[in-house]
């Protein structure tokens, strides 16, 4: 029995320890441990999901199974036994023989992971040809069969295209085909659907799952999204700070998590927010706005109208390219609209940012997705938050510092952070500082552009809770731009669904999220992964029936 198990064992990682040297600014280089004594086993043809927040070490472990470390990352202890031999003893030559043959890798952003200079087919068959496991003709035939299996359009000819000629979701499938082409025993999927729109993700996820099942390849599936990993994996391993938290069957992890941390991950989206009825008069009205970039005739916004009420949240939801951020740019005057008006407190706002008086600027503040690039890395937190206090209210010296300290309290950080630089803060803390900076102006409206998208779920949750609290205290309204429907459900009072520059559905949250749905909203809602085994099959089936019905 033990013998049989050994036979079916593909990957056996024992007490893996991974270290890296970091170079903090102004300090001596130091050694940090990324992975502490993690052990795992994977049988042939099985899928193990590695889940955790950023810094959990999941990608590092995945890459270690190929003997690879990014940057200065080194494997300093343990064994990685693949097909019965310790790959760490094979040296550089050994790694080269195994990469692309026994183990293949599917990266998060296929758009970046494909070489823009070469045709897709040349890249897909490259590893197969390199390792000499098939002739070019045979490899291309195999690739085309895989393109078909992954339901890529035009499988015979798609290989002739260059990466920029293919969409992101398709590229991710081509990358999966590339990994499968050399018929490896193991594929490391590193957040393969994270960069995709939710409606694209579901198809790619289904394609990957089918391909894994049909080719009997084993996989390490790395993601931060439990709902996604629940669809594809047999077992799930939860990691945190480079240590194992919990490891078990998929059903057990999502239904009966044993560890508190796992439980927190499972129940991450449960924020309660009572929807507010819209008041009688909106303070900001967007009327029939049409906008385009440059002299282009392609309208990025078409006849968009929305209203925002004091102290309430309007969530604008849609896929990338739907025009959500452009709407924010039009409202703030960064992109003057070609037609339509924005009225604020009953009077029209100037189209161009430069034509608006300071008072109008103060009333509309913004928070961005990437907190670290939205702050000057050479300014302290105190300077960053103090700047709008000086600019709008002329506060100086002690008065200003007192107000900065007060704002730091509001964002639950405290005045100990006044002299810190952005580089010394975590991702969530950076976003909090940006929130404090926008609050400092005492605006009526804060435009939040994907403010939680770059954050880990638990941290994002904290930010959302903070925003809701601040809304109650300060009576500030939010225009909340996001692609994430779960976030929308948590915090919105009203919702605008955007698609290709148009608002396709608009109203109070309870109305927008209640049937009957229009086709696009239905697609969007049904694409959000649910933490339930078998959700993917059900969703795909529902979609096929819907399209058959048309």
């Amino acid at each position: 029995m033990a013998d049989q198990r050994a036979k079916s064992m593909l990957l056996d990682i024992r007490n893996l320890r991974i270290e890296a040297t970091v170079f903090p600014p102004g300090e001596a280089p130091k050694n940090i441990v990324l992975v502490h004594d993690v052990s795992l086993t994977l049988e042939k043809g099985k899928v193990l999901g590695l889940i955790g927040e950023s810094g959990a070490g999941k990608s590092t472990i995945g890459l270690a199974s190929m003997g690879y470390g990014r940057g200065g990352v080194r494997i300093t202890g343990g064994e990685v036994i693949l097909n019965g031999r310790d790959i760490l003893k094979g040296g550089k030559e050994g790694f080269r023989k195994l990469r692309g043959r026994e183990v293949c890798y599917v990266a998060q952003s296929a758009a970046a992971a494909f070489n823009p200079a070469h045709r897709l087919m040349d890249q897909v068959v490259e590893a197969t040809l390199l390792h000499g496991t098939a002739t070019r003709a045979a490899a291309e035939k195999r690739a085309i069969a895989l393109f078909k299996k992954l339901s890529l359009p035009n499988p015979e000819n798609i290989g002739e295209r260059f990466p920029h000629q293919v969409s992101g979701g398709q590229l991710q499938r081509v990358m999966t085909a590339m990994a499968l082409c050399s018929e490896p025993d193991l594929i490391v999927f590193d957040e393969p659907t994270t960069a995709l729109d939710v409606t694209t993700q579901i198809d790619v996820l289904a394609a990957i799952k089918d391909a894994i099942r049909d080719t009997h390849v084993a996989a390490l599936y790395i993601t931060h999204d439990l709902a996604v990993v629940a669809q594809v994996s047999d077992e799930i391993m939860v990691l945190r700070h480079g240590r194992l938290v919990e490891w078990g069957g998929t059903r057990q992890i999502i239904k009966q998590p044993r560890q508190e941390y796992t439980n927190a991950l499972v129940s991450v989206h449960e924020i309660e927010h009572q929807e507010q009825r819209p008041g009688t008069t909106p303070f900001l009205s967007v009327k029939n706005i049409t906008a385009a970039y440059g002299r282009s005739h392609i309208k990025v916004l078409k006849n968009v109208s929305v209203d925002i009420y004091p102290g309430q949240t309007l969530a604008v939801v849609g896929e990338s390219g739907s025009g959500k951020s452009t709407l924010a740019r039009a409202i703030t005057g960064l992109l003057p609209p070609e037609e339509g008006t924005v009225t604020f407190d009953g009077r029209p706002l100037a189209n161009r940012l430069a034509d608006r008086p300071k008072e109008d600027l103060r009333q509309l503040q913004m928070i961005y997705q990437m907190a670290d690039v939205a702050m000057n890395p050479r300014q302290t937190v105190g300077t960053i938050i103090g700047r709008p206090l000086e600019f709008y209210f002329g506060l100086r010296g002690r008065e200003r510092d007192a107000r900065v300290a007060e704002l730091l309290d509001k964002i639950e950080m405290g005045k100990g952070f006044i002299d810190r630089y952005p580089a010394e803060l975590s991702g969530g803390q950076k976003q909090r500082v940006c929130i404090a900076r926008s609050l400092a102006a005492k605006p009526k409206l804060i435009i939040c552009d994907e403010v939680t998208s770059a954050l880990d779920p638990l941290v994002a949750n904290g930010i959302l809770k903070l925003l809701l609290e601040l809304q109650k205290e300060e009576n500030v309204a939010y225009l909340f731009i996001t692609h994430d429907l779960a976030t929308v459900k948590s915090i919105a009072d009203s919702i605008a669904v955007m698609y290709r520059g148009e608002v396709v559905r608009y109203g109070a949250k309870s109305q927008v999220l209640a049937p009957p749905f229009d086709a696009y909203t239905d697609l969007l809602l049904s694409s959000v992964p649910e933490m339930e085994i078998g959700w993917l099959e059900k969703a795909i089936k529902g979609r096929r029936m819907a399209s058959a019905g048309n």
Binding site: R70, R96, R101, A112, L130, F162
Partner: protein
Amino acid sequence: MSSPLVKLVAQRIALGILLLLAVSVLIFAGTQILPGDVAQAILGQSATPESLANLREQLGLNDPAFVRYFRWLGGVVTGDLGTAMSSGQDIATSIKGRLWNTLFLAFWAAVVAVPLAIILGLIAVRYRNGWVDKLISGLALASTSFPEFFVGYVLVYFFAVKYQIFPGISTVYDGMPFGERMQAIMLPAAALTLVVLAHMMRMTRAAILNVMQSAYVETAELKGLSAFAVIRRHAFPNAIAPIINVVMLNLAYLIVGVVVVEVIFVYPGMGQYLVDHVTKRDVPVVQAVGLIFAAVYISLNIIADIAAIVANPRLRHPK
């Protein structure tokens, strides 16, 4: 050929022509501002006022500047560069041989320098931050840091004086056999190679290193490609545009910047010709050579631009 590509290339060429016209205005204006009078220069200090006035009339010097400019430009366009004042020879005829000699020298210097620089750059990336990289960078930098005349004389000292392998004076003449000609240009070509090598090599290294951070380079490494194959197949094609740019800049230098090297080796090229006539204050020759140098410079840069455009798969294969 796709339309955006054609449009971009046409734009570059049109811009180049416009630029060349602007340069011709500058050259013409510059030589007009210089003190001194051509008629005076030709006839010397002892000329009578009458003969000066006659010659001015004859040369058309009394016409307004823009008339003279267009007369000159018209001549240039039809291949008439005017007559040298100092010798009375037709400039176009004397430049033809000189230009050919300069191009010949530049060509062979480039044939050695460009591939050598790129290969050294690739090797430096392969062994980045190791001793091979540092050795290559150090040597290349040293060879560039020494002034050309120093490099030239060092070469002359060793290869012409001490071991007498190559001639120290690069005399070439019409109908010279190819082998002898090659032997004659060996030392100036070597000096030029050493001068331009480092710049190209360092830019190649920097451009490729920049690309080495990309996700697709990681993908290539994770396919099991060897380090050198990763650089050659995946990094280099994406670094080609900046490399072409620096190569073209150096090619232009090989043609228009050879003045010092030509003088050292007494090589009958454009640089030598220019220096001779600057000392003689022969304005028409200086104008003609200046314009030719500008044309070479601008054309090579246009070629670099076009090559960079063509090397971009997004422009070559639009959606």
